[in-house]
């Protein structure tokens, strides 16, 4: 699984998430898919509607979800997934992310440490488990790589992910594997 994100879009997401710190912020990612490769070309910010602790939770209003779906159809794009921040926590899916995880979607999780983006990772459910995607910013003549957020190479990961996922299937909680 391979997902790329246009540098401009990643910077827009970074700006949204950093300005929302210390609260979690969220939005949608849209773009194109060809075979197993996804390219994110658009993001849509949405309000975090959580009425619990917004530093630890996000909820997207169902009507905001519908608007994003319809915008994707209108613009000939695919709704590829969700982005959200983990303020002062690693960019690793939590048990709460797992509980609500949907098949097909890419989940971009961004670690914001003291208001600054530190790490961005993307995950997808595969056989009901979260699997980290190869996630990168394509290099172009117009990209300013020195200003782009650093995306750590996949092989540098050594954290364990939650083992079970996917909406719609019976699953067991495995809290011992959750790091957050």
């Amino acid at each position: 699984m391979n997902t790329t994100i246009d540098s401009k879009i990643l910077k827009e997401i970074q700006s949204h998430l950093e300005s929302s710190y210390p609260h979690e912020a969220c939005g949608f990612i849209l773009g194109h898919e060809h075979k197993d490769h996804r390219r994110i070309t658009k993001s849509i910010e949405v309000e975090n509607k959580s009425v619990e602790n917004q530093r630890r939770r996000f909820i997207i209003d169902p009507l905001d979800y519908m608007k994003a779906e319809k915008q994707a159809l209108k613009e000939g794009l695919s709704l590829l997934g969700i982005y959200h921040s983990h303020p002062d926590h690693p960019a690793i899916p939590s048990i709460h992310d797992l509980e609500f995880a949907q098949p097909y979607f890419s989940y971009l999780i961004h670690s914001i440490n003291s208001g600054k983006l530190m790490d961005s990772r993307s995950y997808r459910l595969q056989n009901e488990k979260f699997v980290e995607e190869i996630f990168s910013v394509p290099v172009s003549r117009n990209s300013v790589t020195s200003e782009a957020p650093i995306l750590k190479p996949l092989e540098a990961r050594n954290q364990q992910l939650p083992l079970q996922g996917a909406g719609g299937k019976k699953r067991k909680s495995n809290a011992s594997t959750i790091l957050t």
Binding site: R56, Y65, E69, F100, A101, P103, Y104, G168
Partner: protein, 95 residues
């Protein structure tokens, strides 16, 4: 006729269709027709007790059917139902 909007994560079960047309007089009848035509959707809509899953919302137009008569909500020709997965998460324990 009733149009049921299918969210992106579930379109692999509807041959990539973003909407399915059914003929139904209530929400429950519409959902049952949808499932009948696309049985692979079943575990993503119903739980083991055959109730609508906790993390699935069904909207009639822009209204949550839970604020109407739930799955017994009556439909009329031209209505649009939407199946909406609850989108939520978070980094860790509440403090």
């Amino acid at each position: 006729m009733i149009t049921i909007f299918i969210p992106t994560p579930l379109r692999r079960f509807t041959s990539d269709k973003s909407s399915v047309i059914v003929s139904a007089r209530s929400v429950t009848e519409a959902i049952r027709q949808l499932i009948s035509a696309h049985p692979s959707l079943t575990p993503y809509i119903y739980d083991e007790s055959e109730l609508i899953r906790k993390h699935v919302r069904i909207y009639l137009g822009e209204e949550d059917i839970r604020e109407k008569q739930g799955i017994d909500t009556l439909l009329k020709d031209g209505d649009e139902l939407s199946i909406i997965p609850a989108i939520a998460g978070g980094s860790g324990r509440l403090k």
